[in-house]
């Protein structure tokens, strides 16, 4: 009997050929829905199928795939995010980046679960999607416009107000700053597909924005998802109180107290308590927050708007914790108003605050050590707050030293003396996020083996902060791998991580199995749903192996993480020496069923029902 697709799925994939403006519609194979679930799983499958292993990220053959998940627009809270998948200009490997706001839910109602942009548009364009398909429209007059302005301008052109939901590129994406991001300004909350360079890829396709107008499709869960969702709410709201009040910025002070918050380009991992306080969630809330903002279908409302009169900012997006690490503590810049200004500029110009911030901090240390000088840039002293703001502008425009910063820290290091490599902080070409690669053992092995390199959404730090696998290597490789399954599963559901970890649990458990079963009508066990996460992670790995960017040699950590213990503070002495990493890699590969070089074996590919994917990535 042939399998039918559960009625939570819209059922279609929309392929848009930018060069001709033509589209075609493909039906979702029910077997793929079972194997990959949605979101991240669907975009990984598209990249595996359509991007040749030797295609450069800026080649027209790269795709940008946008997807939603099966529970989007259902009663389940916070499962209404979107995900973009592509080959990253930072890592040259598979990348997926999620974002919130209202666009994903609108896309869900068009009936298209996935939209895949192929090729390059002949003229500067935006892509409008509705339930009838896609139209490639002229973006004439939008060259160089900022992200929020672009969202507004396209809304005006389409003339249905906020019923046109826009995900926009800024000048940074047009200029192919390698870590350019995509920004969605909606009625309720900004959403940023922040990492890996989705904006740069869209820029290379000559596309300024993706705009969506919703349709009539309504997903129909197979079971009583509503009842289950209500049961979940109490715990969810109790455990997200800090997010509700402070957003993620509330993490600055406690993680600094633990001595695990990078400072001065990771030379130390604890700022002076007064300095941390100046850029903390507590200070931002007291001095600058004006209102809460939220994604579709989420009561947590972790988003906040800030106003800073002296900087001319009203309704700016509050800097997230990761951004405060990248643009404040790593830089030794503790002027909150200048930090908010730099973040606001990054959002408007369309740049990932983590990669940009870590790259600037790296340049500051190179300057300190004499590898760069005032002729390169006069803005590179640690603590230079005005320089921070000026460098954001220069980077997006690729002006002066900004042109070097726009390449990211790894490429910048290649242009400098060999010594510069000692000051890098990232893996596989992507700068690390705020969660310490030295101070959390689970992050050491997690970052080293992350599909995306420096992502904190492959292996998760949350349980580590509660004392699990933060200080020990025992069982940590398996822990890291299984939280990678957890994140891949969550991103295939397009579920908000904050909400899932707090309300549902930070490991795959029976709550996920039950909810997915209720949504789809499939009877899935906890093992079944964890296997979906494992399968997706292996698809990502297969893509990266075929592209030559994932093996034992690239599953590594930067020099400082492996050779310089944290010098002081509560985490003093912690690091991950090479022999420790090698031991953890052995265990990790064995647990995964990968060979000694970190490649999935044929048995593993067969066990996970991925023979067709392994074949397509090798083509």
């Amino acid at each position: 009997m042939s399998e039918t697709l559960p009625s939570v799925y819209g059922g279609e994939i929309l392929h848009v050929h930018l060069g001709t403006g033509d589209s075609e519609i493909e039906s979702i194979d029910p077997r793929d829905a079972r194997r990959f679930l949605g979101g991240n799983g669907f975009v990984a499958k598209q990249v595996a199928e359509h991007v040749p292993a030797d295609a450069d990220p800026f080649d027209p053959e790269n795709v940008l795939a946008l997807a939603v998940g099966p529970m989007n627009a259902t009663p389940f809270q916070s499962t209404s995010r979107g995900v973009v998948g592509f080959v990253s200009p930072m890592t040259n490997g598979f990348f997926d980046s999620t974002f919130g706001g209202t666009l994903p839910q609108a896309l869900k109602t068009t009936g298209f679960e996935v939209v895949v942009l192929h090729g390059t548009a002949e003229e500067h364009s935006y892509v409008l999607i509705d339930e009838d398909g896609a139209e490639v429209k002229s973006a004439d007059g939008l060259e160089g416009t900022e992200t929020y302005e672009t969202c507004q301008e396209i809304r005006e052109r389409e003339d249905v107000g906020y019923d046109t939901h826009v995900l926009a590129n800024g000048p940074a994406g047009e200029n192919q700053v390698r870590y350019a991001c995509l920004v969605h300004e909606s009625k309720m909350r900004e959403g940023v597909a922040g990492r890996g360079g989705a904006g740069a890829v869209l820029g290379s396709k000559n596309v300024k924005a993706i705009a969506v107008q919703g349709g009539d499709f309504q997903p129909e869960p197979a079971g009583d998802l509503q009842g289950r969702a209500v049961q979940q709410m109490g715990r969810l709201m109790d455990e997200t109180e800090m997010l509700q009040e402070y957003g993620t910025a509330g993490l600055v002070n406690p993680i600094n107290e633990m001595g695990k918050l990078g400072h001065r380009n990771m030379q130390t991992e604890q700022a002076d308590a007064e300095d941390a306080e100046a850029v903390s969630g507590e200070t931002l809330r007291e001095e600058y927050v004006t209102e809460d903002t939220t994604c579709s279908n989420c009561a947590v409302k972790c988003g906040k708007h800030v106003s800073v009169e002296a900087e001319g900012i009203t309704e700016g997006k509050i800097p997230e914790f990761e951004s405060l690490f990248g643009t404040a503590t790593l830089q030794e810049v503790y002027d909150p108003e200048r930090v908010i200004k730099a973040n606001d500029l990054c959002d408007r110009l369309g740049m990932d605050t983590i990669s940009w911030g870590v790259t600037v901090a790296f340049a500051r240390e190179c300057y300190e050590k004499g590898l760069l000088d005032d002729d390169d840039s006069p803005h590179l002293e640690f603590g230079d707050a005005d320089g921070l703001v000026e460098l954001a502008r220069q980077t997006a425009e690729r002006e002066d030293f900004g042109d070097d910063l726009a390449e990211g820290s790894f490429r910048l290091a290649e242009s400098l003396d060999d010594e510069a490599e000692r000051y890098l902080y990232g893996a596989k070409g992507l700068e690390f996020a705020a969660h310490s690669a030295r101070g959390l053992k689970g992050m050491s092995i997690g970052y080293a083996t992350a599909t995306r390199g420096g992502s904190h959404h492959d292996t998760r730090p949350t349980l580590q902060y509660d004392g699990n696998h933060d200080e020990t290597t025992e069982g940590t490789p398996e822990f890291a791998a299984r939280t990678q399954h957890f994140t891949a599963l969550g991103d295939s559901l397009t579920q908000c991580r904050f909400v899932s970890e707090a309300g549902w649990g930070a490991r795959v458990n029976e709550r996920y199995a039950e909810a997915i079963s209720l949504a789809t009508g499939w009877e899935l066990s906890t093992e079944d749903v964890e296997a979906i996460g494992e399968r997706i992670y292996n698809v990502e790995r297969l893509i990266n192996v075929a592209r030559g960017v994932a093996d034992r040699g690239t599953d590594t950590l930067p020099h400082r993480t492996m050779h310089e213990p944290i010098p002081d503070g509560p985490s003093e002495g912690m690091y991950c020496p090479p022999e420790e990493l090698e031991g953890m890699l052995d265990e990790y590969y064995e647990f995964r069923g990968w060979n000694d070089n970190g490649h999935p074996t044929t048995d593993t590919v067969d066990r996970l029902d991925l023979a067709d994917v392994a074949e397509s990535v090798a083509d």
């Binding site: 800090m242 509330g250 406690p254 914790f321 969660h435």
Partner: protein, 93 residues
């Protein structure tokens, strides 16, 4: 003995101060300090200690920056000059 207590986020809101330095008896444990705070600040009642006397899920406690889950949890004995940081649970951002 003297302890420095640092409060964050909602705990700070309930206490109304960023930090306090207080005298406690020798051999005071983490649990004793949390019970004292709950007693002194009605808004904190039931948020620091669970019914069974363990540290509540809604709070993370650090002794000199180390999560007390690595020590003796609520039974961790404190020493003169220690700093206790009391914060909502730390997540992944």
């Amino acid at each position: 003995m003297e302890l420095e207590l640092r409060y964050f986020a909602m705990v700070r809101e309930a206490v109304g101060e960023r930090t306090t330095t207080r005298e406690f008896d020798p051999e005071t444990t983490v649990r004793d300090v949390l019970a004292t705070l709950e007693n002194d600040h009605p808004d904190l009642e039931g948020t620091l200690l669970a019914d069974d006397g363990t540290i509540a899920r809604s709070v993370t406690v650090l002794r000199n920056g180390t999560n007390v889950t690595h020590l003796e949890r609520g039974a961790t004995e404190l020493a003169d000059g220690d700093t206790l940081s009391i914060t909502p649970p730390v997540t992944g951002g």
